[in-house]
Symmetry: C3
Subunit: 421 residues, 3 copies
Amino acid sequence: MGDVLYSWISDLFPITRSLTGDGVRQTLGYFKDLLPSMVISEVPCGSQVLDWNVPAEWTIHDAFISNLKGDRLVDMAQSNLHVVGYSEPVDTIMTRAELERHLYSLPDLPEAIPYVTSYYQRHWGFCLSEIQRHNLGAGPFRVVINSDLFSGTMTYGEVVIPGKSSREVLFSTYVCHPSMANNELSGPVVTTALALLAQSMPVRRYTYRFVFAPETIGSITYISKHGPELKTAVDAGWVVTCVGDDRAYSYLPSRRGDTLADKVSLRAINDLGLRVDKYSFLDRGSDERQWCSPLLDLPVSSLMRSKYGTYPEYHTSLDNLDFVSPSGLQGAYTLYRRCVEILEESPRWRSTIVGEPQLGRRGLYPNVSKVGSAIDSKHILDVLTYCDGSNEEWEIAELVDLPTSVVQETCLLLLSHGLVE
Amino acid sequence: MGDVLYSWISDLFPITRSLTGDGVRQTLGYFKDLLPSMVISEVPCGSQVLDWNVPAEWTIHDAFISNLKGDRLVDMAQSNLHVVGYSEPVDTIMTRAELERHLYSLPDLPEAIPYVTSYYQRHWGFCLSEIQRHNLGAGPFRVVINSDLFSGTMTYGEVVIPGKSSREVLFSTYVCHPSMANNELSGPVVTTALALLAQSMPVRRYTYRFVFAPETIGSITYISKHGPELKTAVDAGWVVTCVGDDRAYSYLPSRRGDTLADKVSLRAINDLGLRVDKYSFLDRGSDERQWCSPLLDLPVSSLMRSKYGTYPEYHTSLDNLDFVSPSGLQGAYTLYRRCVEILEESPRWRSTIVGEPQLGRRGLYPNVSKVGSAIDSKHILDVLTYCDGSNEEWEIAELVDLPTSVVQETCLLLLSHGLVE
Amino acid sequence: MGDVLYSWISDLFPITRSLTGDGVRQTLGYFKDLLPSMVISEVPCGSQVLDWNVPAEWTIHDAFISNLKGDRLVDMAQSNLHVVGYSEPVDTIMTRAELERHLYSLPDLPEAIPYVTSYYQRHWGFCLSEIQRHNLGAGPFRVVINSDLFSGTMTYGEVVIPGKSSREVLFSTYVCHPSMANNELSGPVVTTALALLAQSMPVRRYTYRFVFAPETIGSITYISKHGPELKTAVDAGWVVTCVGDDRAYSYLPSRRGDTLADKVSLRAINDLGLRVDKYSFLDRGSDERQWCSPLLDLPVSSLMRSKYGTYPEYHTSLDNLDFVSPSGLQGAYTLYRRCVEILEESPRWRSTIVGEPQLGRRGLYPNVSKVGSAIDSKHILDVLTYCDGSNEEWEIAELVDLPTSVVQETCLLLLSHGLVE
């Protein structure tokens, strides 16, 4: 699965995404090919959505800084990070001093092109490496940004996969960043894999909802349309972002910190024996800001590999195809799949008999007791002792300190012997 | 008391107990002499009890391995541990190789005879020390087990001592192990002492129930007859086992872990200033497996000296009269007596006056206040400040960090001055 | 404010206070000049108050030990601590041996005169430094105490400042110690400053009650008159004592330990970044003994500088004007003022919008997002995310780990933008 996810990222990496525009549409189209049930919606620019307005649609055709001979010194064809997101059009000659106010680079990471946007205030600019900036020369320069800002639409996608219950599990991810791999392409590809997983399950306890939208304004828009139904239906949710590298696992709790999403996250981490960096909700930075906002207050947490803002490559050209890996993606997918399994496969079993069962006549117990024996059946009895009708399987796993999968196997064995119901 | 308990163990040690049979009857008869109110019941073999069936009654007359000259090489007359419990009859000549499949020894404890049983599958065998096994010789051997397995009865005893309330305190112990001292004879002798204590109390707040039964099948049988009434009546209970040695104190919580039995156990430990090894319910191994089973769920914990399974002599001939001691037994008895005292002597006092009392005119306070004085009456005021009608005496002891006995004395002093009611 | 408080202490220091008498009246008169709304009450000696009786009124005119030539060796004119409080009259000649039974000194603090009283048993005595005692000579001595013990009255004062709600905040302090500064004069002067603060507030959420009374018998008397109304009305209270030195801050919880007074105390300590010695209610020693007594059970804690009984100068002539300081008093006043501010200025705000607000168009957010930016608005969003209508401002301060004042400013900013209500 890690290799497949990595190949999807490789396909999508070159596309110039932004909050709006054809880059988002291409990206969502790619996912719709994988998930034909995806519904793609367009929202008119200028629409009022909660406290916000959908910004203009932005199209970028070309952007460069050249010398007067026409040699391109900074060229968006080399990297779509070179142009500040939502730059207004410009075509002029200017001095080095004039140009300086429009340049962004990172002195501490001299080879990295930073990622800069200006969605809500008209502006233009170029991002370049510190080395490029040093070598630009004295000027004058020709500066061209061939962009359109017009009253088009903003695009988002959603997939809803019904289950036996209308209680929902929400996965949210975003599709508005240009060529960067951990933040963001890892998010939508792992989310797509989770949607495929949910689709493939013959029976679903929960209904699954997957939202692919531009960050912040996309989830704001989605809440403006679906807020009340989400508030009623969602039992647990996750923001899927920064799930592609190998350096770390990270857990960001929900606002309340003790929701089902939090408990399941921690149980999944335990089940897989992962070492995880645990953050506070005060460290939040993605769409949990919207899902957990106080009047909506959804039970949404986030499981990540290296959390946004904690790795130096974050929001630069170094967050590239070398930074993420098949194994990094696989690790995150496995962790989220564990969450789904915990949610799906957790009946509350109740012992059918008073006292311990006679395991021996069921072939579940060695018949000759001696020093050192009688351990093989210990898991069976430990699990059974907590099958009192109040504990879900994964809660029993916490109580007996075993992987949930072992508890699940044990419960199935108990069921096959009629010892639980 | 420790010496008396030790002498009872010495009397009972040689008897060949098993799940059923005359060894159990003799043992219960000994306790009935001490506790004439004990009711002894017989349950027919084959009876269905919950998920189990009472096994056949087993009688053992003789068991030995000899050479063909008739020299007994392993002889049950030397130790009743030599014969595997519930061995079927055998009288045959066999080679060393054939015999090997029926021999049990402990390479790590070469002088110890292990304790092995096979209650629920027909089998026969001999237990011997590693040294004996080494010296058996090449054979052939004559092998004789003169036993009966027949449709008799299983025997258990119970003592119920009524109190002012029908709320119950349960003590459970077992009487099915042959010549071993800590596990098990320490258990029934300390339980007998506790029953004598309860009998001797002029007034009892609680009704006390003492169950002496074969482990597992005995408590299962008892629950099959008395389960619903126990579930309604028992406020706290303990499994009394492994209470005879000097090495450690141990505490095994109930399934829920926060019942009255758990709180009183911990308070008693505190009162006596004991260092205790605290186990998890997952470390359980005796009749709390039945009392705490999920559909019954009694508040039963266990206070022990060295817990079963944690000392190398466990379930071997080394768990003998040298392993237990009068002081070890005394320590366990004192700890359980403290539990009874806490349960019995814990009224909820309520201050009779608003504000602090004038201790001086009651002779409870030094009348000249000066630097360093006014400490003598501190306990009085500390205890009184928590006499708000909601705290039992032992809970006040937790709050003021004093032994329960000091709080009890203080409350009596306050009562004698009319300061609490 | 510290200098003003120190000057009040200096004015009041020489007065010879005791449980009763003109010293108390003079002291309360001084505070009534500052707080004209103070109501001063007189309670007849011998009155039954709860479990106590108001003792006789005591007046002391003169007290000395002289040699037979008339040279005063110990003279109350030098320090009112020289005479044991409530000494009965005496005028006699006695030997050194006879005198010894009436002398109190401190071998470990040879220069200090101890403070000793005998309110409830007739007695007389002299306190002197160990050095004075050493130099007294062989005697005989003339011993004179010119005092009156008569059926007068006991005096106390109270100030009630009504607020919008009849829910009350109680501050209690005492006025019965002669010339000592930290214990006690710091207490009533800081309490007076808090009453002036409450008076000066244009709007008060709470009603404030300030009680100035002799310790123990004064609060007992006050409870005998106002107990039921206090039990109904008081939401939080503090005993103000030992609030004048620079060595430490101290917190003594209420009996229950988790009342509003406790939470606000801990929040105020946090807000001011103070290192505080935390005591147990078992370390109590002042009028919380009465306010928190079990049948009354008010939510009363105590914030102090160096707690009574913990500094060597306590209850000696060394607890003088050198021991307290303007900065020590200022620190305690600031801490209590913070408690008042937390209680007064803590509305429960509720976000007005779903999702996060668009801070940018309100000028609350930098419009160009880039690496390392977007931190300035973090506090705004952190505070807003907990404005769910259930948390008071100071509780939000705990959640976001910011000073309450920053949260208050932030909430006002949010209010001015219509983002909370």
